[in-house]
Symmetry: C2
Subunit: 135 residues, 2 copies
């Protein structure tokens, strides 16, 4: 299940992508327009900024804006920051790999191999979709 955090983050980013001249937009404006709790959105935009997706300006006329062209913001990158692993199990995750407690042999695990298939097909979508495609 996609977390609200990820959903809200994606919606906010598409909102920013639609701005003329990449003008800064205030949190309150986005939160009202997209029906998102302002304080919650605040923390989400903060992590997006800390991870290099957004820039910010303080004071009057301030707000958040995209740091890159929407075409260059891959969904896989955003998903990994907001949602975490793309894989359904840690033992097939490329960026968040963990061994399973219960599995003596990963390659012999039936679930493992099925989940590799799912990961590959999902990753294929997220790698080939950018923020520009969402608009």
């Amino acid at each position: 299940m996609l977390s609200k955090k990820t959903k809200y983050g994606l919606k906010a980013m598409t909102y920013l992508a639609r701005q003329e001249n990449n003008e800064p937009v205030q949190i309150g404006v986005i939160s009202k327009s997209e029906n998102i709790s302002q304080k919650f959105l605040e923390s989400i935009l903060l992590t997006l900024r800390k991870n290099g997706f957004l820039g910010s300006k303080k004071g009057k006329g301030g707000g958040y804006y995209l740091l890159k062209d929407p075409k260059d913001i891959k969904m896989s990158a955003v998903m990994r920051i907001l949602e975490g692993p793309i894989a359904m199990v840690p033992c097939v995750s490329l960026n968040f790999y963990e061994t399973c407690d219960d599995c003596p042999d990963e390659n012999a695990c039936a679930v493992h191999n099925l989940m590799i298939e799912v990961r590959d097909s999902t990753l294929n979508i997220f790698n080939n979709r950018s923020l520009a495609d969402l608009i």
Copy 2:
């Protein structure tokens, strides 16, 4: 993330699929072999039985067994019982559909359309893989 419930359920089913003549296997045998808490597995096998995947026999020589040929047990069906929706958001789920609180227009939602793509590719895998493929 795939829940332990689903993972354990799938592992138990593949264990049963490997039995000669579809002989009943006791919970304790599976739980030991697959390193799964016996009581937890008990509840999982119970729901699989109630949903028509497994049959059971009480008393000595009893246990659980598959009710269908592994080839005829589609992953999509098992996933929906154990994990719930295959889609990442309820608003694109075919079997567990729910509207979003924050979305006034589903079709205009950027996240919505991306998640339809993901759902379709995942569903395509689960619909075309059976328990027999896991072995």
